[in-house]
Amino acid sequence: MHASLSRVYWLLIAPAVLLMLVFYIYPLVQVLWISVTDPVPGFGNYMELIDRPLIHRIWITTLRICVITTSITVIAGYAVAYAMAQVGERQRTWMMFCLLLTFWLSVLIRAFAWVMLLRTQGIVNTGLQEMGLIDEPLRLVRNEFGVIVGMVHFMLPLAVLPIYSNMTGIEARLVSAARGLGASPFEAFFNIYLPLSKPGIIAATILVFVFSLGFFITPALLGGGKVVMISEYIQVSFEETLRWGQATMLASTLLFSVLLSLALVARFVDLKKVFGAR
């Protein structure tokens, strides 16, 4: 390409890149910087990761919720994606419609719907009581159960889409061939289809895990202060105690955990495809 023309195209890119560097990357770097300088220079803030039992507990809660959410989401998402790959055009459109409606609907509204259903005087509890199935209302929110329900609900569309897009590339005749050679339907599925859909499963797993790690809204609303994940704790330690050093240290640790997970997955799948699939 002509050199002057190429300069013109760089000029088109420049505004967006400059804006991103000045107003997004610089503030992020500032967070990393504060985490090693406030209140005193050094890695003192990071020592809290090792020293403070409270922070241990919060990280363990966060990881436990993320692992449970990711497992449930990927298994349920696989079931939906598999069905979508097998059914006819009409039914598939309906399934896709349900997924996209959920995907696009406000995350706040979805959390609201779950609080409305699951709280003590909520629709599930009053319904069960009126039917005489329970005497005392069940505790369904303000605990890990509620948080996980809400998170699985948020993450499901994110899991189905990459698994499904991988499945559309699987040669259906391979399964037929296995059946023709005498494999039972279950053998054909577990020995042929499942291994072929592994890239989609890996992509969905990491995607859901990464988004779960930094998730704030749903855990904060459905956990009701009883289940505190790392994101919410960052907000608390910043708003209530104004400890910038600790807040930025936790934020940096969270950021590094996400980047590490993504670096791991980049070895298995094309990340841009995963994000572009949205």
Binding site: V31, A83, Q86, T102, F112, L156, G214, L221, A251, L255
Partner: protein, 276 residues
């Protein structure tokens, strides 16, 4: 050929499981709709009859209307900014098609992967230094940054189907860069720009975490009011807002599907004519 009963059984299991999961997705949102018409003063299903009182509460109370207006102002402004920046960036990267341009495109995706709480904290600190806390400008800038990556992605995928020779033809006929972009490239990638606009708008309209950090009293968006409403006493007005948002989301989704179908139809038509 007689069907293997095991296959039939497996198929039923599979469909049952898939639709159960999909029902888990859709039913909670669907229940919000009847609840919004409740005749009770608290959140519950209608008992005696239907009532529009919670819709009236939304349209009559200043706090809800002004919050909606704030959200619309911020969402529209940041959508326009994100579209402008994102489209130009995507076009530049696409035309350069070099390794460095590819790196720029990947770099522009950063806000998608950074956890929201981290970016909120970072912006809070920097916005104080700039003196743009709790201003429309500050929130619009923040939402623009968050939305730009989605515009870059949707426009780039639209550009991938655009014939580079059309751009060269425009140049050979004497078109300047701005004329070529305005009259040749932009009209052809309209579907990508439109779905980028939908992404940008919904992201800004729904954004809460950054808004919680960088605005207080002056700018009060709808998600912030909803957030307060959920945490305080589960205001039933939210059910009416939720129902309206579900209706709008349905409308937007149908528009998006329609645009995509049209794009696909166009592409098939081009293949029929040009035999690409």
């Amino acid at each position: 050929m007689k069907k293997d009963p095991r296959v039939v059984f497996g198929r039923c299991m599979m469909l049952g499981l898939a639709w159960t999961v999909l029902a888990f997705l859709v039913v909670p949102m669907a229940i919000v709709v009847p609840v919004s018409f409740t005749d009770q003063y608290f959140l519950s299903l209608p008992k005696e009859g239907l009532s529009l009182q919670h819709y009236a509460a939304f349209f009559e109370k200043d706090i809800w209307i002004s919050a909606t207006l704030d959200s619309l102002i911020v969402a529209i402004a940041s959508t326009i900014c994100a579209l402008f920046l994102g489209t130009l960036c995507a076009i530049g990267c696409w035309r350069l098609a070099s390794n460095r341009a590819e790196m720029v495109r990947t770099f522009m995706l950063t806000p998608i992967i950074v956890p929201t709480i981290v970016q909120a904290l970072a912006m809070y600190r920097f916005w104080i230094d700039l003196g743009i806390m709790d201003t429309y400008f500050g929130l619009i800038l923040a939402h623009t940054l968050i939305a730009v990556p989605y515009v870059v992605v949707t426009v780039s995928s639209s550009l991938a189907n655009f014939d580079v020779r059309l751009e060269q033809a425009s140049r050979n006929l004497g078109g300047s860069t701005s004329q070529t972009i305005r009259w040749v490239i932009v009209p052809s990638i309209m579907p990508g720009i439109l779905s980028g606009a939908l992404f940008a708008f919904t992201i800004s309209f729904d954004e809460i975490v950054v808004a919680l950090f960088i605005t207080s009293r002056n700018v009060y968006t709808l998600p912030k009011r909803i957030w307060d409403g959920i945490q305080d006493h589960l205001d039933p007005t939210i059910a009416s807002i939720a129902t309206m948002l579900i209706a709008i989301t349905l409308a937007l989704l149908l528009t998006e599907l329609w645009a995509r179908q049209r794009q696909r139809a166009k592409r098939t038509a081009r293949i029929d004519i040009g035999g690409e």
